[in-house]
């Protein structure tokens, strides 16, 4: 098995459209790396370049120690699971999984052993003789995975494999993919636009936007310390609130005249200069608390989510959302005083949108 | 529309496309360009030398009264066949579209004449309307209609229109039925709720929505009458009596057979090509949607 290394990889399409703008990334052997971002951010293009389905306009891609820029997909020792599964409709489940091995002249009994093994792991043994159209969405998904597993490749590539499934099945398959990857220990690169999928699956989370990497880290690093305003609002649901504010002094900012203390703030910011203050809906509490700052919020309406409630309203004239456990705040509350832990405040530069935290 | 994924290399694709290219060039482009070239030449009496004469062949052609007659015959023939085959087909299609039992069986019973060769269709109708022995032709004469398609030009044309219509109803029926079935039921239901009766619904909702199909079938039917009815004409009337059923295509054939002027014959072919290309160009608006190269 092997890791994947990208070195300033570029993709320029006809008409000078730069889909991927010099991406460098190291994916460790055996890790589960998820590329997440909105549609058109270049994540799928990047994955397809690793697969060899798109040519590379610049930079290098290495699988293990081998530069594979000019290597055909079949010779890269990768396997891919497609969004629409791309099963061969005229072949049985067994033949779908065996096809890649047959083309590689693997001995018959070896093929049989591997296909049966994969079918057992994925619990699709009863369907081996069926055609894909006689399978449910979840079963097709398993066959697509099986086709990848039997090859025993160095790298698994997943291109939004769960987006054609209904919500319940998606959660179930997500857990299975994670379990399978851990069991097999094969380096995996997984593309999705769903941040929940991204958070739950990844060892290494790569957030992309506009053909560039915004941030790389473990899911909790990315969640706790978003490096840019884009990452802050993209990861987390409901998204982080961003309020316009001003620098008051070291460790202090103000929003609409209310002072907020901040733990993670860069030194030397000019007092009075504009700054963006990010607060996660789940990080603010109702009611004043000792050792924390407080701000006032006008509530417009409440969304009931069962276990939690979302209070929508305004803080200093800007839209603001608070998430609270049901019953914690009376649903007819119109004015809230929110207490804020200094450790939960994120600051961003309004111009560069970069985080203004300690280095 | 383009595929995202391709194979690389160009010798293999060129090999793959070669057979079709070769056949197309040899049996299509070569003859077509020869026809165009020849239409500007005149051969001497012995067929030994030829000279370039510009548009003289075309001028000579349009000065022939027979050519005008063939043109008028073609127009009358196409108009009648288009009208009858399309209206009968539409009537049958609207009935078969109703949710009645046996609808599928009726469809099968109505479409098979498509498979009958035009020449055979002509022979069948000629037999049925034979003036002395036909099951329908003889009674006509007994009743005193003086029916004889072998001697009377009008009778001959009527017989041709019958045969050609008979053969083409199935085609138009099939496309009209498909067109009708493609109209969303909800639109018709909305019309019913708005108080339109069945006949009114047909003329104000269904017929307008069917107009692309109707237009497509009109063009196809005209092309059919121009070219494919050759077999019917040759089998039934041979262009007669006295040239009354000679269409443009039949004239090309008959002139060439009697060993007429090559340049004149080529000019006739070119005129036909222009007509088909114009018809196809009109239809191209619809073809365009599937061909986006």
């Amino acid at each position: 098995m092997a890791g994947v290394t990208l070195d300033t990889v570029r993709k320029i399409y006809a008409g000078n459209v730069e889909a991927v703008k010099g991406v460098s990334l190291g994916i460790e052997d055996g890790s589960f790396c998820v590329l997440v971002g909105p549609s058109g951010c270049g994540k799928s293009t990047l994955l397809r370049m690793i697969a060899g389905l798109e040519t590379i306009s610049g930079g290098d891609i290495k699988i293990g120690d081998r530069v594979v820029n000019q290597v055909e997909p079949a010779d890269r020792d990768i396997a891919m699971v497609f969004q629409n599964y791309a099963l061969y409709p005229h072949m049985s489940v067994y033949d779908n999984m065996a096809y890649g091995l047959k083309n590689r002249k693997t001995p018959k009994d070896e093929i049989d052993k591997r296909v049966k093994e994969a079918a057992r792991i994925l619990a699709i043994e009863p369907f081996l003789d069926r055609k894909p159209r006689a399978l449910s969405g979840g079963q097709r998904q398993r066959v697509a995975m099986g086709r990848a597993i039997v090859r025993k490749p160095q790298v698994f590539l997943f291109d939004e494999p769960l987006s054609n499934l209904d919500a319940k099945l998606r959660v179930q398959m997500r857990v299975e993919i994670k379990r399978l990857q851990k069991a097999l220990g094969v380096t995996s690169v997984y593309v999705t636009h769903d941040q929940v999928e991204a958070m739950t699956l990844s060892d290494k989370l790569v957030v992309m936007s506009g053909g560039q990497i915004e941030q790389v880290g473990t899911p909790s690093e990315v969640y706790r310390r978003p490096e840019t305003r884009f990452v802050a609002t993209f990861i987390g649901s409901p998204p982080m609130n961003i309020l316009p504010g001003k620098v008051e002094g070291p460790g202090r900012v103000s929003v609409g005249g209310q002072t907020i203390a901040v733990t993670d703030m860069r030194d030397g910011l000019t007092p009075g200069s504009a700054i963006e203050v990010g607060l996660r809906p789940e990080d603010v509490q109702a009611g004043g608390g000792a050792g924390s700052s407080s701000i006032a919020m006008d509530v417009d309406f409440v969304e009931e989510l069962g276990a939690t409630q979302l209070f929508h309203g305004k803080v200093a004239g800007t839209e603001f959302v608070v998430q609270a456990s049901t019953g914690q705040i009376a649903a007819d509350t119109r004015k809230l005083t929110l207490s804020i832990d200094p450790a939960n405040v994120h600051l961003f530069d309004p111009q560069t949108t970069k985080r203004l935290g300690r280095d | 529309m383009e595929k995202r994924a391709h194979f690389s290399g160009w010798t293999l694709p060129l090999l793959l496309i070669l057979p079709q290219m070769a056949i197309t060039v040899i049996f299509f482009y070569l003859p077509a360009s020869q026809a165009i070239w020849q239409s500007f030449l005149r051969e001497d009496a012995f067929g030994l030398a030829s000279e370039f004469v510009g548009f003289e062949n075309y001028i000579a052609l349009f000065e022939q009264p027979e050519y005008y007659r063939a043109m008028i015959t073609t127009v009358i023939f196409s108009t009648l066949v288009a009208f009858f085959s399309m209206s009968i087909a539409l009537l049958l299609a609207t009935q078969a579209d109703k949710s009645i039992r046996l609808a599928h069986g009726f469809k099968t019973l109505l479409i098979w004449p498509y498979a009958v060769a035009p020449a055979i269709a002509g022979v069948l109708w000629m037999f049925m309307f034979h003036p002395t022995l036909g099951t329908l032709g003889r009674p006509l004469n007994v009743m005193g209609f003086n029916w004889n398609p072998m001697l009377d030009g009008t009778d001959a044309m009527i017989l041709l229109v019958f045969s050609a219509t008979w053969k083409h109803i199935s085609y138009n029926f099939l496309f009209f039925l498909a067109g009708l079935q493609a109209i969303p039921k909800s639109v018709i239901e909305a019309g019913a709720i708005d108080g339109a009766g069945p006949l009114r619904r047909f003329w104000t909702i269904i017929f307008p929505l069917l107009s692309p199909t109707t237009f497509f079938l009109l063009v196809v039917t005209i092309v059919y009458v121009f070219f494919e009815t050759f077999g019917i004409i040759d089998a039934v009337t041979g262009g007669g009596p006295a040239g009354t059923t000679t269409t443009l295509v039949y004239k090309v054939y008959a002139d060439g057979r009697s060993g007429g002027d090559l340049g004149l014959s080529a000019a006739q072919s070119v005129v036909l090509m222009v007509i088909v290309i114009s018809l196809t160009a009109i239809q191209f608006r619809y073809v365009e949607r599937k061909v986006q190269y």
Binding site: A51, I78 | Q20, A32, L91, V116, A117, F230, A235, A266
Partner: protein, 281 residues
């Protein structure tokens, strides 16, 4: 919908039944005529119920021929069959290959090649009949099956049909094949060809009927009676002025000529409709 149905349905049945009778009657007459002798037909009062001459007529037509066209109809049918199958298979073969090239490869002049083929949609063989005849004659292909078949497979319908189908095959299938180690040949053989079977069958049905029913082209290039097709043969059995016409043999031949293509339409109706709608639209 709630509507006064009984009358409406009655009208629908009535119209359709009349339609079916009109469509079927000429063929019914031909079948009846194939069961009588010449005298019964000539006197003009042919009964509308079958006679007893069918075995005699069909045996004579199939194996001995009539007085005017002396070749046995079985031989003509063989010629028609060879021509129809040749056209159907020939067209399928050359058009699936060219469509594969145009859709799945990028090569120089690809668009030009596509247009060169596409233009041929516009000109039926009837328009270019004599120049084509001359070329076939120059190539020494008069009175040959090759000469009968080749010029009729030079058309774009098949290529367009396959191209249209290939465009609906998901790109991911090719990508998955590439990852599975299949090249251009393997992808065609293992994936594209099996998936194209319905399209191939539909095109086959349409082209078989087209080939079987050809008239003008075989009329021109076959001079030997041993090369005659059945559709041409039947014409020679009928003379308009002469009492020599053996109507019972002509009608027997007409029935025989209709059997293969009509059976194809009836038994492969689904494929026939698919082929017709997709090649023309």
């Amino acid at each position: 919908m709630v509507e006064n149905r009984p009358f409406r349905d009655f009208m629908a049945y009535l119209t359709l039944v009349i339609g079916v009778i009109i469509v079927a009657f000429p063929v019914y007459l031909a079948i009846m005529a194939s069961t009588f002798d010449t005298a019964t037909i000539i006197n003009g009062n042919m009964p509308l119920t079958p006679g007893d001459q069918a075995p005699e007529n069909y045996t004579r037509a199939l194996f001995y021929g009539g007085k005017l066209a002396r070749e046995p109809v079985s031989m003509m049918m063989m010629n028609s069959m060879i021509m129809a199958l040749g056209i159907a298979f020939g067209k399928i073969l050359i058009s699936i290959l060219s469509a594969y090239a145009v859709v799945y490869f990028k090569f120089p002049f690809r668009k030009t090649a596509f247009w060169v083929i596409f233009i041929t949609l516009m000109l039926p063989v009837e328009v270019r009949i004599y120049p084509t005849y001359k070329i076939v004659a120059d190539l020494g292909l008069l009175d040959t099956y090759t000469g009968l078949i080749m010029p009729l497979i030079a058309s774009a319908t098949g290529t367009l049909l396959f191209r249209q189908f290939f465009m609906t095959v998901p790109d991911e299938l090719l990508e998955a094949s590439k990852i599975d180690g299949a090249g251009a040949f393997r992808f065609f053989k293992d994936t594209l060809l099996p998936l194209s079977m319905t399209t191939i069958a539909a095109l086959f049905v349409i082209q078989f009927i087209y080939g079987w029913n050809q008239y003008l082209w075989p009329l021109l290039i076959t001079t030997k009676s041993s090369m005659q097709t059945i559709v041409i043969g039947i014409k020679k059995m009928i003379t308009t002025t002469d009492a020599l016409t053996e109507w019972q043999i002509a009608m027997t031949t007409a029935v025989l000529a209709m059997v293969p293509p009509v059976l194809v339409v009836i038994f492969m109706q689904r494929l026939f409709v698919k082929g017709l709608v997709e090649t023309e639209k």
